[in-house]
Amino acid sequence: MSRPTSVNAPASTPTLSGLLRSSRNRALLVLGVIVLGLIFLFGGDGWVSVLDFTMVAAIAALGLNVLSGYAGQISLGIAFFMGIGAYTAAWLGGSAPQFPGAPSGLGLSFLIWLPASGIVAALIGALIGPTALRLKGFYLGIVTLALVFIGQYLFINLKSITGGQQGRFDFPTPGFGDFSFASPTPIFGIELTTNQWFFLLLLLLLALAAVFVGNVARTRAGRAWQAVRDNEVAASIMGINLFEAKLGAFVLSSFLAGVAGALYASLSGIATPGTWSLLLSIQFIAAILIGGVASVWGSILGAAFVFAIPVALTTFALLPQSASSTGISSGDLSTILYGLLIIVFLLFEPAGMIGLIRRIRLASLRFDARRKGGETATAMAPSTRETLLDVERVDLARETNAPQQPD
């Protein structure tokens, strides 16, 4: 290369993989961990519980983002798979019927029911996927909508597992041997509440899920998903098996939704068929659209936004929790807010909050560059442009670029 690299390399363009590499980002992450730690230790049980539900929601949002964000397949069915996960957990981990007609459970360890909740959901996804994924766009959306209604019907009627219309109240809680999250005893002299134990477990599980999805997204399978999302015909010409790619996304998405469903039911201890409604699915769609499609951090941010804000509004006692005959409830206010935000983000920043953050970072990087090297920075814009338009003569034989005319 004869040309100076400072002109040549678009070094100022941050890359996706670089999101965690800059010191600024590391600082943000450390700050986040400190805030989480402070809430965990001093925030009180209410706030820890808000974080717990947010983390569960984030796992499900990651699942939806795999299918809809990365692979581009519309799905309204996530509530169905969450329900499957929850009832699998209830059946495997729940207690034996205490009175006639009570829902049954096998009382197995959480090391069994938690993975099983994901696996059963994934298997059902693998069963439905081949049929559903023949359809595209809106058709797939409607079939997954149908899944939610079929789920409602099944959950109401399979009383021995779901408890029927009234719901089930004995969802299992994680624990080891004699120790259970439900009534935690001190371990090594440390005494934590139920919600705090859940916090530790969920933080671990969310981190695992996030790293896993992030890894898939930047390797072969994830690249294939995104290519399928962007252009199916071109993707298959490049050698991607469309069916395999979509089914893989569908199964992984169902797995994560199943695990999240089991954790959700375990955390709240109760679920009725109405828990797994269309509204829940729409909340997750809102979460990934607002947080950021095809982004791990976007899933987490979006889940926090959609699921933590209503609780926060209630906790601050700004608004009553449910609608009275007059006045606005916190649930309604946050719902209308995220409805509006879906529209606003799709209009102005389709990459969601993550896109917004990236934009701010880019602007601040530019600002830094300008401040640092006054003249070189101002000269950079036109010269970079010039490089882009200038296609260099390539010579494969010598594997070097022919010398350029000095500009």
């Binding site: 581009g72 359809l135 809106f138 209604f149 019907y153 010409i237 269309l278 609608a323 409805g339 529209i343």
Partner: protein, 298 residues
Amino acid sequence: MSTFIQLVFSGLALGCDYALIALGFTIIFKASEVINFAQGEFLLVGTFAVSVAMFSWRLGFFPALLIGIVVTVLIGVLFERIVLRRMIGRPPFTIIMVTIGLDVVLLTAVTMIVGANSPASPAPFDILSAITIGSVKFGANAIASIVVTALIVAALYAFLRYTRYGLAMRATAIDQEAARAMGIKISTVYALAWGISGAIATIGGVFLAAGAGNPAFDVGLGQAALVAFPAIILGGLDSIPGAVVGGIIIGLVYVLTQGYEPAFLGTNFHTIAPYLVMILVLLVRPYGLFGTRKVERV
């Protein structure tokens, strides 16, 4: 036998309501290839507006209906103009999602205003009035929905066939670029489509609310309208006769399964029967019974 006739009649009437809802989808889709997930909430908003005008403002049914229609037409046209106009050329995924956003906003807005009260179902007659022939009851609302649906379909047909704007809409549906070249204003066509669809939504909503036979309806009205999705899928997204036939089939399936629901199927099987029929049809014909398949290119 009379049970069967009763069920078929009720199914037909409900099917006509679904046909109206399905028509709302189809008209928008034909004109602009947008699938309006918020159509169900258009029904809710329109019906709610009629109810408020009739029972709070003490207007007659027909002036109230007009107000309801104006409200949904305005929402539709404004949404198209303010939001969708800026999203032309974006992937279908995004456009479906933005209508889901509208759905959430409309549903929640009505929920907030309604609070814990249930609005009364508006109708020009006592919603329970009926003519009984033999042992079969022909409800006034059911008769009205069949007659009005027939009238609307006929009017729509005449509009698309014989009027200047109707022809413009059809031309745009076939080939947008060619239509533009012929001097058709695409924005007018879009506005028309959203307007017509909004108006039909209010009428369908009023029938659907009264058809339930309760003096009041709740905010779940829009969700009940989601059963129209199987109807448009059966009929194919872009076919107007398909929407009508699909709507009627779904209405019949719903009412007949409800009427003959065997005990072993548990409760509420009829709520999923339309979806099961839809899935069966899609297994055989992925683009519906009347829909056309799009050719994709590289």
